[in-house]
Structure formats: structure tokens, C-alpha cells
Symmetry: C2
Subunit: 466 residues, 2 copies
């Protein structure tokens, strides 16, 4: 670990979720953290200064402003470098009233702290070498994780799984570069070292790993942002009832053991560990989503963005009108997973059911009633099957971050140029340049190379207090 570089100022922020709670935690980090807290905190028992306490200890005491108590608090002390940021850090646990939280933050600012930017504590942890950039990004993903799969991926990345993979790649690229550069040293003699066949094999192996990582982004993205699902169908087919049913059942599971409300992630549900994201369903609930003429732009766009299409058919409609709709819909969904749902199927008889089933026999249409909650379990099963998500084990490295995917894609291009170059007998110095470029892009991921604006973009999406 490199020595912590103290940033110029000491920062503070409320680190727990906003709102009223039993307790709240305010974090203070920087070279003046202890000195500033010393000014406002009086321990109840031992009248010792904070600075004389050992690291990783808790003191009970009082925070006061101009002699008036603001709150009784617990103060947790972390000496540099044994803290999250690597700097001297103090965490103040106070009563979770918003008024108290604000008063303490205001007092800290008065005494010399600056309010932290979103993610600034983690940014300092990165700058102080406590974690690399991909690990820092994983912290934000971990906090945002709302399913077993997103949690697992973020945790693995935070623990350095992805970083280790990149380090291995880097080592292989260094070996490769060393061989090429050896050739370069003797270039005047116009020697081609070893045979290039071996070199090419090595480059191809490296390229494969990079490509695998880049390819994993499609899975990673589906896990992280949800598998895009479009719900389409005529007006009054029951789309909104179905959507609300799916959303409600998910919410019920969540609120079960928690006793609290969660941030509603609009129109995203977890079923069996997979996240499904419903595309543009605002219209469905306004019931302005008229699909009478199926050629309309909107339905077309929805299908284009989706991986899974739920076509809700009013089972009581005439066979003719269903056939008419099918002629429009089926061609649009050829590369999608299409689930055909005959809704309101409690209102049709057995004969009508057979008729409708035979229309789409090979596609196994599902007969449901969103209103009566008939057969919706089966619908959930079909959704999980359609998701096609691979089992993820704790050690799988799967790219979930667009920035990483883009860097990998560029590294992939560079290493491909190396392979092409060798095939076309390009000289070693050009090859070396592409190898360096490949390594550069990989280094961007872990932050070995990082521009200020990249850091800014990354940490801006954190919550304040982390």
C-alpha cells in the first residue's frame, strides 16, 4: 500500500440514508478530523482527548455548540492509515433526527470541515491506494445492488476479482512486449526473433481473454440494469393490470421482512434472482398507449429495445382480429423472445381456448387472467426461462460497467492490430506501440492511468457520505 496522501481539506457528510432513523452516522475524514472533533466533543467518562485514544475504539460523549448540547453521541476513531479513506477518520453516531444531523454537520463545517462531494470518501480511498478504480466503482454498485446477482458481481469486483484478472493480462502483455522489444533492439540486424508463430499464439490468447471480458458485458449489463421487457397489446387487453400485478408481487416480497419502504425503482422487478426492466410503461398506466394500429412508431420502438416481448391479447377478441394483429407483430419479434399471453381467459370457454391455442401452438401461448391472478406463477416461470442468465459463481469476472466495456473494446482493437500487424509483417516498433496502447486501456480501468475528468465522472454518481 502506498502512503496516504493527505488531501488539503477535511471533509464531512451524513453517511446513512437520508431521513429519520433510530441513529445516523456522520463521517469526518482528513488531516484535521481529530482536531476538529476535539473542539466539539466531550467524552462522558474518561476526560481524555480523542487523539490519545487508540484506533478502532468508541467513545461515548456529548457534542455541544457554544455550551449547548446538540446530542449524546458515539464517536468511532480510525487512525491513518487504518481507515476506509486511509486518512484519520471519525464516525459520529447520533440520534437520527434530521435536525440533529444537520446541526452536527453545520457545526463541523463551522469548525473547519468542508461538506464532502458525492463519493469523495471513496475517491480519497482510491487516491490513497486503498483500492483501485474498478474496486471504487464497485462500491457504488454494491450500494445500489438490489438483487442477489448484482450484489455478487459488485462484491467480487470490490474484492479485486476483476483487478486480478487485469493484472494477469498486464503481465502477459509485458512478457509479450519484452519479446517484441528484444526484437526491436536488434532491428538493425533485421532479425525476427524466435518464430513469430509463437508470438502470434500468445497475442491470440491475450485477445481471447480481452474479448471474453468485453463479451461478458452483455450478461453483466442485463444483470445490472435488468433484462429489457416490452409489454404490448391492444388498448384494454389488460396490460396495465398485468404490469401492476407483477410490480406489486415483487414489492410484497421486499417489504416482508424489512418493515420499511424501499426506494421504488420504477418498473423493475426481481423474479428468481433476475431483474426485468419494463420499457417505457408510463404510457400503459396513462392508458394512452393505443396500439389499434400496430404500425405505430411507439410499439415498434419498444419492441426494438426489448429482449423479451410480452404480447397481451384480449382472449375475448375475435379470432380474426387476433390473426390480424399477429400478422403485424410476429415479423417484428423474430429475433426476440415472444411470450403470447391470452388475458381474461377466465371469460372464454374450453372450445375458444383450443381455437386460440391452435393459432400459435408452437409458441405455447399462456392463458392467464391478470385480474383474477390466474396462471401468473407460470408467467413468472416463463420470464425466468426467457432471461437465459447463466449461473454466476462468486469468482466469475463479469463486466457490468460501460466505462470498463469501452476500455476493453479499445484494448481489443489494439491487440487485434498487433495480430494483424504480425500477419502482414509489420515492423516491431509499430507492434510495440499497439501493445502499449492495449496496456494503456487496461490500466485506465484500474485507474493506474486516470484523468481528472474521468475521476469526476465516476465519483459523481455516488451518494454523498460514501
Amino acid at each position: 500500500m502506498i502512503n496516504p496522501v493527505f488531501q488539503e481539506d477535511t471533509i464531512c457528510a451524513i453517511s446513512t440514508a437520508p431521513g429519520v432513523g433510530g441513529i445516523a452516522v456522520i463521517r469526518v475524514s482528513g488531516s484535521e478530523a481529530i482536531a476538529i472533533c476535539e473542539k466539539i466533543f466531550t467524552p462522558v467518562k474518561k476526560r481524555k482527548l480523542i487523539v490519545t485514544q487508540e484506533t478502532h475504539t468508541l467513545s461515548y460523549g456529548t457534542i455541544s455548540k457554544n455550551g449547548e448540547t446538540i446530542d449524546d453521541v458515539l464517536l468511532a476513531l480510525f487512525h491513518t492509515p487504518h481507515s476506509y479513506t486511509g486518512e484519520d477518520t471519525i464516525e459520529i453516531s447520533c440520534h437520527g433526527s434530521i435536525y440533529i444531523q444537520q446541526q452536527i454537520v453545520q457545526l463541523l463545517i463551522e469548525k473547519g470541515c468542508r461538506l464532502a462531494q458525492p463519493g469523495e470518501f471513496t475517491q480519497r480511498a482510491f487516491l490513497n491506494g486503498k483500492m483501485d478504480l474498478s474496486q471504487a466503482e464497485a462500491v457504488a454498485d454494491l450500494i445500489a445492488s438490489s438483487s442477489a446477482a448484482t450484489h455478487k458481481l459488485a462484491l467480487n469486483q470490490m474484492k479485486g476479482g476483476f483487478s486480478r484478472e487485469l493484472d494477469l493480462l498486464r503481465e502477459r502483455l509485458l512478457d509479450f512486449a519484452a519479446l517484441i522489444e528484444l526484437e526491436l533492439d536488434f532491428s538493425e540486424e533485421d532479425v525476427e526473433f524466435a518464430d513469430r508463430t509463437n508470438l502470434k499464439k500468445l497475442a491470440t490468447e491475450i485477445q481471447k481473454i480481452i474479448q471474453q471480458l468485453a463479451d461478458s458485458f452483455s450478461v453483466g449489463n442485463a444483470i445490472k440494469n435488468g433484462i429489457p421487457v416490452a409489454i404490448i397489446g391492444e388498448t384494454n387487453a389488460g396490460k396495465s393490470t398485468l404490469l401492476n400485478l407483477l410490480l406489486r408481487e415483487d414489492k410484497a416480497i421486499v417489504s416482508d421482512i424489512h418493515g420499511t419502504t424501499r426506494d421504488v425503482i420504477e418498473d423493475t422487478i426481481n423474479i428468481g434472482g433476475a431483474t426485468f426492466r419494463f420499457i417505457d410503461t408510463a404510457g400503459i398506466r396513462d392508458t394512452t398507449d393505443i396500439i389499434e394500429s400496430l404500425g405505430i412508431e411507439r410499439t415498434f420502438q419498444k419492441i426494438a429495445q426489448a429482449e423479451i416481448v410480452l404480447w397481451v391479447v384480449d382472449a375475448t377478441s375475435s379470432i380474426e382480429s387476433v390473426i390480424l394483429l399477429a400478422k403485424q407483430i410476429l415479423p417484428l419479434t423474430s429475433d426476440k423472445t415472444l411470450l403470447i399471453l391470452f388475458n381474461k381467459s377466465d371469460k372464454i370457454g374450453e372450445l375458444e381456448r383450443v381455437d386460440r391455442n391452435s393459432l400459435f401452438e408452437d409458441m405455447k401461448p399462456l392463458f392467464i387472467s391478470a385480474k383474477e391472478k390466474l396462471n401468473t406463477d407460470e408467467l413468472q416461470k416463463r420470464l425466468i426461462d426467457a432471461a437465459h442468465l447463466p449461473e454466476i459463481s462468486a469468482n466469475d469476472v463479469i463486466v457490468t460497467n460501460l466505462r470498463h466495456y469501452e476500455a476493453l473494446s479499445k484494448a481489443d482493437e489494439a491487440i487485434r492490430r498487433v495480430i494483424d500487424g504480425m500477419e502482414n509483417g509489420i515492423s516491431a516498433d509499430f507492434l510495440a506501440q499497439d501493445i502499449r496502447e492495449c496496456m494503456h486501456y487496461l490500466a485506465e480501468i484500474t485507474g493506474k492511468i486516470s484523468a481528472n475528468e474521468i475521476l469526476h465522472t465516476i465519483f459523481r454518481r455516488f451518494c454523498i457520505g460514501k
Copy 2:
């Protein structure tokens, strides 16, 4: 302090505000707290058991379930009796993802914890003699405090200010009872000890203190629940614009330094440290609050509940219609503070203004424009003046709790019966009975005497995790 009585089970709950945050804290308390956490926590550095660590220390480590990591956490240890509850307590600081919070709570439950009831940690603190009942109630008030005044009152009560006052009262009552009972011992001899004049003086002093405390409830209640304000006026006078303006300006102050949203306390604002509660303003925003015929029930009820009445008059209305309204409104507000607001006053000329002003000259009507934000600072000043709240110093004992007020009222009745009894020459044994009753009601406040259902009612209003 009495020895902690271990409750039969170990409880756990998320103690920080619900939702996503940088970090979250899960609290575990009870005789099995350490043993249960031992099963799920692995320290990163020293491979020591939690139980061997000293109290008030922090360990960094991993929480796992069946070998799979759930999160890296900080674990704070408090040995009995040096904890909030008085029991062995562990506070787990984890990443503030809802998924992680739920996973850890589920795991704790799996390993033998029970999910805590609202306020159960504080209830245990009370049962273990860490605080009396009025102090425990103050914890909930402190967490709910949203202004300087509510915060100050709750903190003082939590620190035992009210309890000390009650203890003093109890001592005086004991002295008094001793004298009466001495008389009782000699009752066969039909002696009246000392002269009853002195006894009566003592009783009167006690009664005065009890009454003062009970009387302070009207101030305490206004501070805690806000001063009730009614906004009345014709349709389209601008009531909703004014209300929204007042609410918005307050919200802006709050969100300024916090960077977070707060739980919206519907239609309550803080101005200059005082809380104002707007009565039944739902109608105003629906604009269904038709006041054309001022005799209607609803406006009448609103005024009856209010201390302050804001009458919003459309300044562009004719003088005649204003006079007509005034005839209906003024008689209803004779015992209220009435603020007359001529809204839309930017749309009338100087002459019209003089006319309208002269209608209510002695009441100093205010000419504002809610839409153009004209003169609304002055309105805020008028509201503060109308609030009539006394300056509260940190040591003032002010009753804010209805339960305490009711107990004090009953104690007051009992001590008054003692005084009356002495005046009417009632015998000492009857007097002694009333004194005991008086002491009983005071003891109920601090929980020296408490029924289970009272405890249940009190702690039910806490948030979970405290």
C-alpha cells in the same frame, strides 16, 4: 443502576433510516448477541473471537452465509452493562444497499435473533434501569425533533430534567406524608399535629408546582405539534398559492445544506424556530374548499381548531363583498389571532389600498402578493409575533407529552383533594390516601409504576431499530 435483566431473546433491527445510503447500521442486543455474531462474522486481521475483544472496540471483517460473503463490515462491540440497552450489544456497519441490509438481518434471524419491535431497544434500556420512562419517551421525541425548540425540550427531558423535577416533588410529598402519617399513628388520641396551617402551606406549594408543570403542556404541545393555523378565504383568493409559497420556502432552507430529501411533514413549517401546523389544507389544494357561503361547516371547524387565522382576501374584490365577508368572519375569530391578508395587492392602486386598509385599520391588514412574493417576509414576521412562544432555556421543564399531562392533571386533582380535605377537617387516613394517589400518578410518569399496556403504547410509536 440496577443490574441488567436479560430479556429472554436477542433482538436485531436496522437502526438507520430506511432506504439506500452510504452505510447502514444493524443493531443486535441480548444475551446471545455476541454468540450469534460470532457465527457469521470473520475478522480480517487478528483472528480473534469477538468475545475476547474489549468493550467499545471496532473490528473490521466479513459477514458470510454458507461460505459466501455478504459484505465487508465494521463491528462495534459493547459489553453489558456498558451499552444503550444495558445488554451485550453489537452494531454492524455495512454498505447501505437495501439488499445487503436485508440479507444480514435475515441471516441474524436464521442464527437465532428475533426482529425487534419498534422501540424495543429503548424499552430494554428502560427495563434495565438505564433510563426512566419519561427519558425513554424523550428519545422518540428527540428523533422526531425537527426544530430548535422541540430538540431542546426533548434533549432536556432525555437528560433527566423532568425526572429530577418529579423526584423533588416526590421527596416533598414523602415529607408531607410522613407528617400526616405521624398524626395517623396518634389518631386514637385525636391529636392534630403541629398546626395544620403549616401542612396546608406545604400542600399548596406542591399543588402549585404540579399545576405549573401541567400548565406548561399548552406551550409544550404548541412547540411539539405546531401552532394550529387556519387559512380561510373565498375561492380564488389565492389560499393555495400562499400555502405552497410558505411550505416551499421552508423546504428550501432545510434542503440547503443537507443534500438529501427529508420526510415531508405535511403542511408544517418552521419559521424562526416556531412550528406552525396548517389545519386541514387538503381541501385548499384540491380547490374544493368553497367558502362562498361563509356559514359552511368546514371553515367554521377550521377556525375553531386554530390559534391563528389567516384570512386571505382577494384585494381586487369589491369593498362591499369584503364587508359582507368580514361580518361573517370577525365574530368567529374573536378569541383567535386574526391576520388579514389582502392578496393580489399588486393589482390594485394606491387609492383602493387606502380604502381597504381603512376597513380594518386597527387590525393592520397586510397587503401581499403570494404569486409575486410581495411582502411575504412581513407575513412571516407577523406569524412569529402571533405565536407568542416564550423563550425556552435549556433547563426549563416543559411538558410535551399528553400522557404526562394527564398524569399531572390527576396528581393535581389528588393534591387539591388533600388541601380541600384539610380545610374541611377530614381525618388523616383519608388525607394519606389522597397523598399516596398523588404520588402514584407522578410515579407513573417516570415508570416507577407501569402497566404492560402503558409500556406497549409508549414504545409502539418508536421507529424500529431504536
